[in-house]
């Protein structure tokens, strides 16, 4: 019983982290039509910035905020000065994001070294929550809560605000959006910063669970890709559902069949691609 509860919680916490990562990835892909391959590196950069921020501020949530802001600023610079001049050349943009991801990964290695750096959970959440004779890791519950709150906030942003309406318009029909006077260029930067901020903050929040280590980027990027392939491009609901499916498969796969966890990840992807190439909730195919 304990095993199933703990693994379920693990998978829910990982799902929450994946959502923070994949929501931005999916929105950027949906709006700008580019697969931002730096996204895994932004997550890792966030985790490392969290390590440094925790030396300056004592609070993990504050560190997550700081990490998110710095990564958002970095993302904004990349979008404005590197991706923008390549507008219209989607392949070039994707290759550039790949190049930048290598640069970021190597820079992190230079700055923070090659050993994994653990990040402590806030003291108040370190003790497990005990109900009856079953212990729940409190921090993982908190991560799940943050992800759900973020999902609701993003949903409200997308459905209830002017900005969200513009983003939806851009995802559905870029040329019409431009034609009716939506400042698409500014929208690109906004969404890119938003996605980067979510990934960066996600890296810090994920720190107590995964810690910061070289290779975190290449561990997370494929998971984000699989989430988006499953859920569909440009759909928040798709990113949300896809994150929890992917996390559940990955967590239970790792626990029950540790050798083949990655192979098992591949199965839902085959099913979705075979029967619904645009993903479960995609508005259009990738």
């Amino acid at each position: 019983m304990q095993f199933w509860i703990v693994q379920t919680l693990n998978s829910l916490a990982l799902g929450g982290l994946l959502f923070l990562l994949a929501a931005g990835f999916s929105l950027i892909f949906g709006l700008m039509r580019i697969a931002n391959l730096t996204h895994g590196s932004l997550f890792m950069l966030g985790a490392y910035l969290g390590v440094t921020a925790l030396k300056l501020v004592p609070n993990l949530w504050l560190a997550a905020l700081l990490g998110g802001l710095v990564v958002a600023a970095f993302g904004g610079l990349v979008e404005r000065f590197i991706l923008r001049p390549l507008a219209g050349n989607a392949l070039g943009q994707v290759l550039v994001t790949l190049g930048i991801s290598f640069i970021v990964a190597d820079t992190c290695l230079i700055v923070w070294g090659g050993d994994p750096i653990p990040i402590a959970a806030p003291a108040s959440l370190q003790r497990p929550l005990v109900v009856g004779n079953i212990a729940f890791p409190a921090y993982r519950l908190a991560v799940l809560g943050i992800a759900i709150v973020t999902a609701i906030a993003l949903h409200l942003l997308m459905e209830r605000t002017r900005l969200g309406a513009m983003i939806r318009a851009g995802v559905d029909d870029m040329q019409m959006a431009r034609a009716v006077g939506i400042p698409v260029s500014r929208l690109f930067t906004t969404v890119f910063c938003l996605g980067a901020a979510l990934a960066g903050a996600g890296g810090v929040i994920g720190g107590p669970i995964m810690s910061a280590y070289p290779g975190l980027d290449t561990d997370m990027l494929p998971l984000a890709l699989i989430v988006v392939i499953l859920g569909g491009v440009g759909s928040l609901l798709g990113a949300f559902v896809g994150s929890f499916i992917t996390a559940a498969i990955y967590t239970f796969g790792s626990a029950l069949l540790p050798d083949l966890a990655y192979v098992i990840l591949f199965l839902p992807m085959i099913f979705v691609i075979a029967f619904r190439p645009r993903g479960l909730f995609g508005r259009k195919s990738a």
Binding site: F29, R33, I34, A35, L37, I82, P85, L86, N89, A90, L91, G92, V94, L95, V96, L98, G99, I100, S101, F102, I103, A105, D106, T107, L109, I110, T218, L221, P222, L225, I226, V228, I229, P258, D259, L260, A261, Y262, V263, L265, F266, M269, I270, I273, A274, P277, S285, A286
Partner: protein
């Protein structure tokens, strides 16, 4: 002129081991392997317009299959080699069937995700792949009883395979089927309207590309006599793609030149500092921004302009 250049190049390549030291001969062998790999990816990127970020999968699959069969089942090389090619090509068929549900960036994402799944499996499935230790204790085959253990012998072996592979791939792209592939890249809807099965053309090209990737993978494992999960990593796929794009996708010579540049760069940089990933990333960014159609087309344009004057 062109034929003369070919003969000169052939003589230079054949005579190189007589003058070069072992270090350079080994470098030459590695360039031939990288050239086959880049040429096979070029079939998709250059002629099919399908940018794959998972080409390292073929290296890894062929190398691991052949190594595993040799070490665990004790099969001889003449059985492991064809089996590795068959297994890899079959998996290429499966991956192609999945990845070609999409084109463009969807295709890129799926190939990347699939190859990362293989990479993760190579790390985790230690019972089969040796995990982070990799598989060592391998040997080189002796085709027709000729040992290729010496650097020069392996050089000629890989040169022969590379010439055969590149000739076959050049014939492939210049055949009517190659024309159909280029047509599916430029005008997929018209090709459909003309009665071509665009999906099938792409899938067959994907499988063919995977097959030559597997050949390169066999040479790779024979050269190193060792295989480690990093051969399957995203960095490794990115190196191949960088070679294709830097040299000039969609030309026969481009990817070969590009692969050689990437390999030389990697070897020289690794000798002096450990920042290969940083440099790889920077070169990627610079090539895309400043030389998007590659070195070979760039120089050809320059050469034509110079001839005109």
């Amino acid at each position: 002129m062109n034929r003369l250049a070919c003969i000169a190049l052939g003589l230079a390549l054949a005579g190189f081991p007589l003058v070069g030291g072992d270090f350079y001969i080994n470098l030459g062998s590695q360039i031939f392997i990288a050239a086959i790999l880049a040429a096979s990816l070029n079939l998709l990127v250059g002629y099919g317009g399908l940018v794959s970020l998972g080409h390292a999968a073929w290296i890894g699959l062929a190398a691991y299959t052949s190594a595993w069969l040799y070490l665990r089942l004790g099969f001889a090389h003449w059985i492991t080699a064809p089996l590795a090619l068959v297994v890899t090509t079959l998996i290429a068929g499966l991956f192609g069937w999945i990845a070609l549900r999409a084109t463009g960036l969807g295709f890129l994402m799926i190939t990347l995700a699939l190859s990362q799944v293989l990479w993760g499996t190579a790390y985790r499935w230690a019972a089969v792949t040796g995990g982070d230790n990799g598989l060592s204790g391998l040997t080189r085959p002796a085709p027709f009883g000729i040992s290729i253990d010496a650097p020069a012998a392996f050089y000629y072996f890989s040169l022969t395979v590379a010439i055969l592979a590149i000739w076959m791939m050049a014939r492939f792209v210049n055949s009517p089927f190659g024309a159909a592939l280029r047509g599916s890249r430029d005008e997929s809807r018209r090709m459909n309207a003309l009665g071509h099965n665009v999906w099938l053309v792409r899938w067959l090209s994907f499988v063919y590309s995977g097959f030559w990737g597997a050949v390169a993978g066999l040479l790779f494992v024979y050269y190193h006599k060792y295989i480690h999960p990093t051969a399957l990593s995203l960095t490794s796929s990115a190196e191949v793609l960088l070679g294709v794009i830097a040299g000039g996708a969609g030309t026969v010579a481009g990817p070969i030149v590009g692969a050689a540049i990437v390999l030389l760069l990697k070897n020289y940089v690794s000798a002096y500092l450990e920042r290969w990933n940083m440099l790889l990333g920077a070169v990627f960014v610079l090539i895309v921004i400043f030389m998007p159609d590659g070195v070979v087309p760039g120089f050809r344009r320059w050469w034509l302009r110079w001839r005109k004057q």
